[in-house]
């Protein structure tokens, strides 16, 4: 308890939070997968959530993007309560979600994927007689360049490598102009070289975007991280810098026997 208290002091950075949760809870068949999570992410922050399998990390992201409805608690994006307004509306209000296994439109080209993502006029009748520009827009070129996909614009997504698929999904999320980006293990299944590139990409994003990342790999976390939130059994166990977290007795106790944290 003491640890949580200290950590929350660390987290109160100067800027007003862009994303805030209040006692966010979800129960599956009475089992609380996420318990009373109070999260506060500052504008422009790069936050990493770590925790063992089943700690509720992915469920937390599912709650934030509307995939799962909370049993209790609220989610605020700036001064708007986005709890339970539906996935599409949450996405429109500025939450971008990248999944662990890349979900993209496989039978469409990279450019088409980006076009669907960057089109911000999302209503049926706004699109009814709207034409699609044959070539990429400046914005689409910029986002493709940033994610290293510029050379693959005309390729079908189904022809891309696993790493490229991850970047394509990230590029799509970026094209949405989200206020906050939720990333679920962005380096999962990547080669060492691809992981390096992803780390660089995230650090590059951190200035202009607010990013919330779930990660397993402590080495990766140390490279990208400012503030870490540790989840354990659905609740926030601790919050702080990598240094603080690694020396936090509660964290050490929770992870006792697991080498993930101390020796990774």
């Amino acid at each position: 308890m003491n640890a949580v208290h200290r950590a929350s002091q660390v987290a109160t950075v100067s800027a007003a939070p862009i994303l805030r949760t209040q006692k966010l809870t979800v129960r599956f068949d009475e089992f609380p997968a996420v318990r009373e999570v109070d999260l506060s992410i500052a504008d422009g922050e790069l936050r990493v959530i770590i925790g063992a399998n089943g700690a509720g990390k992915s469920t937390l992201l599912d709650l934030l993007c509307g995939k799962t409805l909370p049993s209790e608690g609220e989610i605020w994006l700036r001064d708007r309560n986005i709890t339970g307004i539906g996935e599409a509306a949450i996405a429109r209000s500025g939450v971008g979600r990248k999944f662990q296994t890349p979900t993209v439109f496989k039978d469409m080209t990279v450019l088409e994927n980006l076009q669907v993502a960057s089109n911000r006029r999302v209503r049926v009748f706004q699109n009814l007689f709207d034409r699609v520009k044959p070539g990429p827009s400046d914005k689409e070129i910029a986002v493709a360049e940033r994610t290293g996909l510029l050379g693959s614009m005309k390729r079908r997504a189904s022809e891309l490598s696993h790493g490229q698929l991850q970047w394509l999904e990230l590029a799509m999320v970026l094209s949405q102009d989200p206020k906050i980006i939720l990333l679920d293990e962005p380096a999962a299944g990547m080669t060492a070289a691809e992981t390096d590139k992803t780390a660089e990409l995230l650090l590059d994003l951190a200035g202009g975007h607010t990013v919330l990342v779930i990660e397993h790999d402590m080495a990766f976390v140390r490279r990208i991280c400012r503030t870490i939130t540790v989840m354990h059994q659905g609740a926030v166990l601790a919050e702080g810098t990598a240094e603080e977290i690694e020396h936090n007795p509660a964290v050490i106790e929770a992870y006792l026997g697991s080498a993930t944290l101390s020796h990774a």
Partner: protein, 371 residues
Amino acid sequence: MTYRTASIIAYVVFFAVVLALPLVLNSFWTNRVAIYLVYSICAIGISMSWGYAGILSLGQGLFFGMGAYMLAMSLTLAVPENNPVPQLMLLNMEPNAVRDLCCVTTGSFLWIPFRSIAVGMIAGIVVPCILAAGIGYVMFKRRTTGVYVSIITLAFALIGQMLIVNNQPLTGGFNGLADLALLEIAGFEFDPYGPSAYYAVAFTLIAVILLARYMLTGRIGQVLKAIREDEARARYLGYDVENYKLFIFCVSAGVAGLAGMLFTLTSEFATPSLMATSLSISMVIWAATGGRASLLGACIGALIVNFVGSLASESATFQPVWPIILGLLFVFVVLFMPNGIAGIFKAFIERSGNAGKAEGFAETKLSAREV
């Protein structure tokens, strides 16, 4: 030649052939081909919802039948003997009922607006759309997908068929509506066996293809394709997936209703069998054979399957086994040519295009080695 150029040529050739056919056909075949073109319009409806948005409706016959009945009701009332009350109602009315359309049989007042041909024609599109909107709203808001959509639509078509068969005093029951007047608009009469009805169908078909193509090659087509590929991803990009599905499902139903009206125009009857499962499934087979993701492909699929089917029906050997052949054709298409005839056409064009490119590539490679 690029695929785009090739497909534009294919469309132009198809339109030209469709428009020229009555010049060489006798009246029997003019009528037959007109009916096949009506089926082509149905196949376009299937292609729009199934091919582009991944919604496989097995109840398209419901909308087709509704369209057919709406116009057939107007054309029934246009026959002088059916005034003020259609014969079919007189045969089924209670002995002391008032001989007026308001109350001669239960629900007969529903026929009153159909005294106007214009109402019948508008209802032929609008009623299927409204029906689809209701069914679609319930299905899509509850996020029903895949095979469940097929089953629900199939069930609704069966309900529709049953309601019509069981309400003989109102609908003509199992026999449907026959002995219709010819459609007459502003003094011009459409002859089902002449070029007039044929061209009504042909121009409608062309208009439907062009409009559908314009729409589906635009932004909304791209979004629908995205939804077909990954519904969840589209949702997390901010698209209200349900509204898009509802929209294309209604448009597809409207197209089927339009085809149904043209069926009444060319066949001069409407029966509950139009809502039978077999016809709905046949429509899917036509679209699959031609290529579900290609509007022109679906059209041509409907023409070919129906033409071969009618040849088979004239042969004593093939007639009884035709449904089996049709079933096997569907299995074959699904397993071996998922993109149908249009897919083969595309592969052929791309291969001949690539052959040219490959040669050029080989040359540059060679010169590079020389250097």
